[in-house]
Symmetry: C2
Subunit: 275 residues, 2 copies
Amino acid sequence: MSGGNEAPIGVFDSGIGGLTVVRALRRLLPSESVVYLGDTARVPYGTKSPETVIRYSLNNARFLLGRGVKMLVVACNTASSTALGAMREHFTGIPVIGMVEPGAQAAVLASKSGSIGVIGTRATIESRSYERALRQFGGPSVIMDGEPCPLFVSLAEEGIVDGPIVDLVARRYLERLVSRLPDMDTLILGCTHYPLLSSAIHATVEDLAGHEVTLIDSGESAARVVSDVLDSRGIRSTRNDRGELTVYVTDTSHIREVGSRFLGEELGDIRKVDI
Amino acid sequence: MSGGNEAPIGVFDSGIGGLTVVRALRRLLPSESVVYLGDTARVPYGTKSPETVIRYSLNNARFLLGRGVKMLVVACNTASSTALGAMREHFTGIPVIGMVEPGAQAAVLASKSGSIGVIGTRATIESRSYERALRQFGGPSVIMDGEPCPLFVSLAEEGIVDGPIVDLVARRYLERLVSRLPDMDTLILGCTHYPLLSSAIHATVEDLAGHEVTLIDSGESAARVVSDVLDSRGIRSTRNDRGELTVYVTDTSHIREVGSRFLGEELGDIRKVDI
């Protein structure tokens, strides 16, 4: 369907949050080229129904396959939670990596108490996808619970990533979770926007729990899985310089400013597509 | 194109925020029937480009015209700011009422100092549509400035409408505006979500300004303009009982809970359409 070691990795998200996953990929796998699609005309997916998220995800994947990608990364927890099965059914010739399984696997490895929390959009938490993945990797002894934290997305997009507003919002969400999971020692950031707030989330959750809590960034975990899959399939890039990054969006408003914040570097050429 | 005094009024918004306008319409004009379309699959419009907002708005209007409405109300400040001209060009047979002109007109009437502030989404503020409308109604002596307050939308949708988080966020946005407009005595709520936070906004802005500030709810102002247009065209409903309310959405997730909060009454039958 697509091919060659030098073909790019295709990554999509509902918006620009998935650029934190691109950042993790480019840090771990600098020679790989990446084609990113942000479906910014339809963002956010987290408040939409599963049928709609599946329809949009299949559209996005078709667009990336048309750009000759060798692998698909669903850099959106909502789409990973609701559309990964449908995508793997539709696109059998290519590996499809989501956010949920890598994050859950890393959390099971990190946790000593076996008590694991997950925060994400309402759609991600209600899909119970992390619960299923944690059971799959950790067995029946894992104790888990989740809490939707929708305001974190708006705060990250506004660039409000620390200070009293973030602390109050973090406390409001996390005290519910800690009261239900007092032994929680591992917390999965189940939304690509949340790594921007990780300092405030980390400080607040440890303060509430009264002990150390390891944060799991699903995007970083997914980058490690991507690396493994490239090796196992023998499709790792062999170039010696830095791979290219091409960014497509379905709507261009405010992408550059917010996107650069998420990517951690200046966004280059951005192309608008109608899909 | 459509007709009769008993035909419904068509109202659309990017999501469920426009239900605060429906609430104002049903309070002022209880015998009128209303058909509402919330484009919840594409919400929010406030972060999208003008071309996209115009395309979606024309789609929404066509759908409502297909339901035989006698008037169109654009219950979305972003769409009113960017798409009203295009809508009036396309749909010449029917009155099209937006949010911006009624809100600006009410503000000019309310202000004694002539210093008027506007808060809304980034798209609404950057469109400068309120500035143009305030100049049109108030002349060159009006002093105005605007401040985008995007977090207010997420807070309203989360049901966080008072308390320390809202106060801190309101202070963060409004102190910029008050420092630029120290004599401001009138503040336009230029987003249909904001009436839910009006108590906190009112208290904060008066505290910062050190004097009374009148809040203008664009939805309430628009309802009064709708009433005037119904009379001037002789198309007011003559029924003696309460008009019907029909709500369409393009995606159904979480509509009932949040929508009822915005409408101020329980949402009845909700129909999903693909447009």
